[in-house]
Amino acid sequence: MPRTLYDKLWDAHVVATGSGRQALLYIDRHLLHEVSTPQSFALLRQEGFKVHRTETQLAVADHSVSTLPRGTTDPAAAAQIALLEANCRAFGIDYLTPASGDQGIVHVIGPEQGFTLPGITLVCGDSHSSTHGAFGALAFGIGASECGIVMATQALWQTRARTMRVTVDDALSPGVSAKDMALALIGRIGAGGGAAHAIEFAGEAVRALSMEGRMTLCNMVIEAGSRTGLIAPDETTFAYIADRPRTPRGALWDQALAAWRQLRSDHDAVFDQEIVLRAEEIAPQVTFGTSPGQVMAIDAHIPDAGARDAKALAYMALDAATPIIGVPIDHAFIGSCTNGRIEDLRAAAAIVRDRQVSASVRALVVPGSQAVKRQAEREGLDRIFTDAGFEWREPGCSLCVAMNDDRLPAGARCASTSNRNFEGRQGAGARTHLMSPAMVAAAAIAGRIVDVRGDLA
């Protein structure tokens, strides 16, 4: 019977089957961060459990770290980070300290380290773990209790998802990126449209994406309600992971590569749902509400879709049936596990070069990892940003989660490359417009929401 890539990954990891769609899945890799694991380690201690396979675990601090050069001044954040380091030491888990030069956002460093590989199951106590599906891995976010279960047993009871294939034909237009593709999909199927489904991306426009673009796309599936995004690995994938610190070498690499080349949906596999998007019809996207599903093309008018939109528009201080272009912003944020990689910084820098951030805007660039930061500095991107008036920060989640030194005041309006425009996500009462790195860069310069395609003309 023909199988989808999801079916193949699932079948290859079943330890035991349960009732209905339930199975006990073997978990190959677990990424840890400081926020979702204190209670997991407490569970291990309380029950007297050890970590079953320490070499399958990798930890880093990202959510509560300060991205200011002086480091955190918040004692609670410092204590949380110190607790992660102490727990990792006590349980024998690798922890990437800031001094290692390898620190960064968990979903940036997994792939950078070669910890993320095709064909594996990978989990993390973070909903954006779907990011790693860009490598053809079955990756999904879990809660703190499940982090403890994985550490103690290397297995998790899971419900087999239904499958959805999203095919994106043609090529993206200039000024349009993987972020716009992701937002356009969420606009099409809704914030819950992917629930109970694993989404596999296919089509010319997806194949043409770099690994950075593919990670952006898979990262955002949780905003459509899906826990798992997938892209079949290909030469782009293999070139990205070759020779990374934790990738297999020599004969093992050859053996792995032969297996990875089989990781694709059979040509006659049947998906439970099929969605087709045409890349050339996707305009730069911007959210207008407080759910990622409340998203629109930059050149459209803000829709008026009833009471729910009205509540969101009241929070956002916007009026239905008016253009989104021209709405003034106070803050611009470039970074996060969605758009904090080198290609994102290059796309933003290309817009910013030789121009100035609007006097009314505070603008931040937060590289996704220390490696991304070093690479950007080698390319001179940091100078382009700082000359324009952007702050050039240390790596971390920063304004995507606002549980660190970066928080917006109530009423502030931010053009943001992050993944969630929820109420209060960037600070209680703050207003978030999600968009691509190029769009945020253009908004920072104009001091208002603009169509980046105008900057490219």
Binding site: V15, A16, G18, S19, G20, Q22, L24, Y26, D28, V35, S36, Q39, A42, L43, E47, R53, T54, E55, H63, S64, D74, A76, A79, Q80, L83, L117, I120, G125, S127, I142, G143, A144, S145, E146, I149, A152, T153, A155, W157, T159, A191, G192, A195, A196, I222, G225, P248, L252, Q255, A256, G293, V401, A402, M403, R407, R420, F422, E423, G424, A428
Partner: protein, 204 residues
């Protein structure tokens, strides 16, 4: 974990859809590293706003919450069910849930129940009118004011865990320890690149 067999009492109606876990538990409180005593942070930024059913100083809620569709979407933070549990919530009924939230509830002895939109709308009205709810997990029934029992579905594994209050780690180890060992031996042969430590041992 406390077993969950029957839960009786009034219900809190919160019909808004897409209530994300940032609304249930704002991110700034994620710096706390304990799971106990989080009830006061549940819906922290919503309390006291017009029409919201929890007061700023309220530290207990009815044991049953009737919620809107896609409840608990977004972040995987388990602080969301911990905070609701801290208020005394044991059962949440909605048309659909954020999947990670749903699974986190079960891991914490809380029962998420999915019902069709029409039934949920009716339950919101009954909750707002002060009806008394009785949820029976053993029989998989919800009864409102002692009449019209409504059946609900739940995965057999989740039902069993909740009814018994089992620790999942202990259960996996006890029932499937040998299965895991067999799986590992097979994977180590078939996909040796996934066993970096083993590879080092072999070379020594």
């Amino acid at each position: 974990m406390t077993p969950l067999v029957t839960v009786c009492g009034p219900a809190l109606s919160l019909p808004e859809r897409d209530v994300d876990t940032d609304i249930i538990y704002p991110a700034r409180f994620l710096l706390l590293t304990k799971r106990e005593g989080l009830g006061r942070y549940a819906f922290f930024d919503r309390r006291g706003t017009p029409g919201f059913p929890l007061a700023a100083d309220q530290d207990a809620a009815p044991p049953i919450l009737i919620a809107g569709a896609n409840f608990g979407c977004g972040s995987s933070r388990e602080q969301a069910p911990w905070a609701l549990g801290g208020l005394g919530v044991r059962v949440i009924v909605a048309e659909s849930f954020g999947e990670i939230f749903q699974s986190n509830c079960i891991k914490n002895g809380m029962l998420p129940i999915c019902l069709d939109a029409g039934t949920v709308t009716n339950l919101h009205a009954r909750a707002a009118a002060g009806a008394r709810f009785a949820v029976d997990l053993d029989r998989q029934m919800i009864v409102v004011d002692d009449v019209a029992p409504r059946p609900f579905a739940i995965d057999a594994e989740a039902r069993e865990s909740l009814l018994n209050g089992w620790s999942e780690v202990a259960r996996i180890r006890m029932l499937h320890g040998a299965d895991i060992a067999r799986f590992e031996a097979a994977q180590r042969r078939a996909s040796p690149w996934l066993w970096p430590a083993a590879e080092k041992e072999d070379q020594q």
